[in-house]
C-alpha cells in the first residue's frame, strides 16, 4: 500500500522556493497529501494526548502502588488500597468468553451469507446486521437483564452444571449474573462486527479462485474452506480484533449483567468486574484524590491491554501470512 503512494510523489521532479511550493499546491496531489497528512497527525496527536493525560493524572496512584497495582487483588476506597488484578482478570475473561462464542457463530454466518445464500437475501440480512451494530449498548444491557440473566439462572446455568459441573469453570452458585452472562451479552454485541466485516472480505475474493478450485474437482465446501477463507484470512482476523476491541472497552451492558464484584474466581458463574465497568460505576463519586487517581490508572491499564492485544494481533497476522502465504 505505502509503496504505491511513494512512487506517485516521486513522479514530480523536486523544485524549490515559494513559487515552486505554490505550483505544487496547485496540483491536487500535494493538497490531498497535505490534508490527509494533517488528518493522520491529528489522530496520532489525540492518542498521544490521551496517554499523556492518563499518565499525568494517575501520578498519585502510580507513585504509591508502583507495579503492585497490577497484582493487588483489593479495591478498597475506605482504606485507600487499590489494585487492578480483579478488573484485568474480569476484562480478559469476559472478552475471551465473548470471542469463543462470537467467532464461530460470526464466521459461519459470514460464510453462509457470502458463499451460499442468494445475493438478495444476503444483502437484506447484512443490512439488518449493520443495524444491529448500531444499537446502543444500554439496549443490549437491558436485553441481558430481562432475557439472558433469567435464562442463565433457570436454564443455561443448570444445564451446563449438570454436564460440565465437575470442572471448576462451571461450579459454585449460579446467580444468573457473572462472567458467563457478561460474555454471552458481549458475544451478541460483537458478532455483527465479525459477520459484517468478514462477509465484505469474503465477497472480495476473486471469482477465479473459486472456479479454479471447483475445476480441480473440489466440492463447494472444500473450495470455500480451503481456498476462499484462507484467501480472506487477514480481513477475517481484522474483524475479530475489531470485535475484541469492542468487547474490552464495553461498559454499560457489562456492568448491568456481570455482578460487579471485584473477585478473581475460576467459575464462570461467579460475579466479576471489568475495568471499564468500575470506572463508569465509581468515577462520579470518587472523592479522594488517590481513589480518583487509581481509577484513572485503571484507564491507563485498559489502554495498555488494548495496545498489547492489538500488537499481538498484528504479529499473528504477519506470522500467518509468512507461514501459509496467500494462495496467489
Amino acid at each position: 500500500m505505502s509503496s504505491a503512494t511513494t512512487t506517485m510523489t516521486h513522479d514530480v521532479p523536486p523544485r524549490w522556493g515559494l513559487r515552486a511550493f505554490i505550483d505544487k499546491l496547485r496540483s491536487g496531489d500535494e493538497v490531498a497529501h497535505l490534508i490527509t497528512l494533517i488528518a493522520a497527525s491529528v489522530i496520532l496527536l489525540i492518542t498521544c494526548l490521551l496517554v499523556l493525560e492518563l499518565w499525568r493524572t494517575s501520578y498519585l496512584s502510580r507513585t504509591k502502588f508502583g507495579w503492585m497495582f497490577f497484582w493487588t487483588k483489593v479495591w478498597d476506597a475506605n482504606f485507600d488500597n487499590f489494585g487492578a488484578a480483579p478488573f484485568i482478570y474480569g476484562t480478559l475473561v469476559t472478552s475471551a468468553v465473548a470471542l469463543v462464542i462470537a467467532v464461530p457463530l460470526g464466521l459461519a454466518s459470514a460464510i453462509f451469507l457470502s458463499e451460499l445464500a442468494p445475493r438478495r437475501l444476503s444483502d437484506v440480512v447484512s443490512f439488518l446486521i449493520d443495524l444491529l451494530a448500531a444499537v446502543p449498548s444500554v439496549i443490549y444491557g437491558l436485553l441481558g437483564i430481562f432475557i439472558v440473566v433469567p435464562l442463565m439462572r433457570t436454564t443455561i446455568g443448570p444445564a451446563l452444571k449438570s454436564v460440565l459441573g465437575f470442572t471448576p469453570l462451571f461450579s459454585g452458585p449460579n446467580y444468573g449474573v457473572g462472567f458467563l452472562t457478561a460474555g454471552i451479552v458481549l458475544a451478541i454485541m460483537v458478532v455483527p462486527f465479525i459477520i459484517s466485516v468478514s462477509r465484505e472480505v469474503l465477497l472480495t475474493v476473486p471469482r477465479e479462485q473459486r472456479e479454479a478450485a471447483l475445476a480441480l474437482g473440489a466440492t463447494r465446501w472444500e473450495s470455500t474452506w480451503k481456498v476462499v477463507v484462507p484467501w480472506a484470512r487477514t480481513g477475517i482476523m481484522g474483524s475479530i480484533f475489531l470485535a475484541l476491541a469492542r468487547a474490552l472497552g464495553e461498559t454499560m451492558a457489562v456492568t448491568m449483567v456481570i455482578g460487579n464484584n471485584p473477585k478473581i474466581s475460576a467459575s464462570l458463574f461467579a460475579p466479576g468486574y471489568t475495568i471499564a465497568s468500575v470506572i463508569a460505576n465509581e468515577f462520579t463519586e470518587a472523592t479522594g484524590d488517590l481513589y480518583l487517581s487509581s481509577l484513572i490508572e485503571l484507564g491507563l491499564v485498559l489502554f495498555l491491554m488494548t495496545f498489547i492485544l492489538n500488537g499481538m494481533a498484528r504479529l499473528l497476522i504477519l506470522a500467518t501470512e509468512r507461514g501459509g502465504g496467500r494462495p496467489a
Binding site: V74, W75, F79, I145, R153, G176, S277, T284, E285
Partner: protein
C-alpha cells in the same frame, strides 16, 4: 427593505430584553452534586425561579463526589452532597465551605424470599451479619427470633448492593458501621462505595430492586423515595431504642428530631441509629455546600434568599415528592447560620 425592518425590530427587542435583564440584575447560579435530592432540587429551583424571575439556578446532578470537586475547583457557585465533607476535604479546600441540610432521605431493606410476602423485622445484628456474610441462611436464629410465626426457608441469602458510588450506599454503610464493630473493623467507615465482603453489585436503585425482584432469596437496600414511588415492599429495621420501625416520612423526620438536640454548629452530623422510640435508624440529611465567602454581592444575596426560602416555603414541596421535612429545631438553627455567608 422588509428584511431591514425585521432586523431593526429584532435588535430593538433584543436590546429591550438585555436592558430589562440588566435592570433586574439577572443572576445565574451554577450548582452541581448529589443525585438523590435531584427531583426536589429541580422542583425548588423551578418554583423559586417562577417567583424570582431574575434568579436562575442551573443544577447538574453529577454525583456528590463531582459536586465537591467542582465546588473546590470553583467551577460552580455551590455544591450538593449526600455525605458531609470529611475533615480532610475541608482542610484541603482553599476556602471555607458551609453545610446546609436540605431534606432527609432513608434506605430500606428490600427482599425476595420464596414463601414470604409480609414485612420482615430486621435486628441491627441481622442486617450487619447478612451484609458481612456471617449470616448466610434465611432461617438463621438472628433473623427468625425477630419474626415469630414467619416460615423462613433454609436457603442461602443472596446479597445485592449498589455497584455505582452513591449516597444511598453512604447511608447504609454509615448505619452498619455504627451498629456493628465487626463491620467497622472489616469494612470500615461509611463510604459511597466500599469493599463489600459478599454480594452482587447492581447499578442504581432500579438495578438493585430489579436484581432483588429477579433473584430468589435475595436482599438489597434501596432509597425510601424509590421504594415508595414504585410500591416495593420493604422490611422494618430495629432502632436504637430496640423498636422495629417502618420507614416513612414521619419516622425519618423523627430520626432527625432525635439527633437535632446535639447537632453541631456546622451541621455535619450523621443521624443513623438516632435516639428516639419512633426514629427510623437508616436516615440521613443531604446537604447543600455553600462557600462562606461569596465575592459577587448579587450572587451572595440570591443564595442567601434562596436558602431562606428553601427552609421555609420550600419545605412544603417535600412530601409531595416523598422527601421527609426537616425538623423545626434544625430549620431554626439553619436560618441563623445563613448570616455566616458573607
Amino acid at each position: 427593505m422588509n428584511m431591514k425592518k425585521t432586523l431593526v425590530a429584532v435588535s430593538l427587542v433584543l436590546g429591550a430584553v438585555a436592558m430589562a435583564a440588566a435592570q433586574g440584575g439577572q443572576v445565574l447560579l451554577n450548582a452541581a452534586g448529589a443525585t438523590f435530592p435531584y427531583p426536589i432540587y429541580s422542583k425548588w429551583f423551578d418554583v423559586y425561579h417562577t417567583a424570582h424571575p431574575n434568579v436562575q439556578i442551573n443544577y447538574q446532578s453529577i454525583g456528590s463526589g463531582g459536586g465537591i470537586r467542582q465546588l473546590q475547583a470553583g467551577t460552580v457557585d455551590f455544591g450538593a452532597s449526600d455525605g458531609p465533607m470529611s475533615d480532610d476535604q475541608l482542610a484541603q479546600s482553599k476556602f471555607k465551605i458551609l453545610h446546609f441540610p436540605t431534606v432527609l432521605g432513608a434506605d430500606v431493606p428490600s427482599y425476595n424470599i420464596s414463601g414470604v410476602s409480609g414485612e420482615l423485622n430486621f435486628t441491627q445484628k441481622a442486617l450487619a451479619g447478612i451484609f458481612l456474610g456471617s449470616i448466610t441462611k434465611w432461617n438463621d436464629p438472628e433473623i427468625a427470633k425477630a419474626n415469630p410465626g414467619v416460615n423462613l426457608p433454609s436457603t442461602d441469602i443472596v446479597v445485592v448492593h449498589r455497584s455505582d458510588g452513591s449516597g444511598t450506599t453512604y447511608i447504609w454503610t454509615d448505619f452498619l458501621s455504627k451498629v456493628s464493630d465487626d463491620w467497622k473493623n472489616k469494612v470500615g467507615k461509611a463510604g459511597t462505595s466500599v469493599n463489600w465482603p459478599v454480594g452482587l453489585g447492581a447499578k442504581g436503585n432500579e438495578g438493585v430492586s430489579g436484581l432483588v425482584k429477579q433473584t430468589p432469596n435475595s436482599i438489597g437496600y434501596i432509597e425510601l423515595v424509590y421504594a415508595a414511588q414504585n410500591g416495593i415492599t420493604f422490611g422494618k429495621v430495629q432502632n436504637a431504642a430496640g423498636k422495629f420501625i417502618k420507614a416513612d416520612l414521619a419516622s425519618v423526620t423523627a430520626a432527625a428530631a432525635g439527633a437535632a438536640k446535639d447537632i453541631p454548629a456546622d451541621f455535619r452530623v450523621s443521624i443513623t441509629n438516632a435516639p428516639g422510640a419512633t426514629a427510623y435508624p437508616v436516615s440521613s440529611f443531604t446537604w447543600l455546600l455553600i462557600p462562606a465567602q461569596i465575592q459577587e454581592a448579587a450572587k451572595r444575596d440570591a443564595i442567601k434568599d434562596f436558602l431562606k426560602w428553601m427552609l421555609t416555603e420550600g419545605q412544603k414541596y417535600n412530601e409531595g415528592l416523598t422527601y421527609a421535612q426537616l425538623p423545626k429545631a434544625v430549620v431554626e438553627k439553619e436560618l441563623k447560620a445563613i448570616s455566616l455567608i458573607q
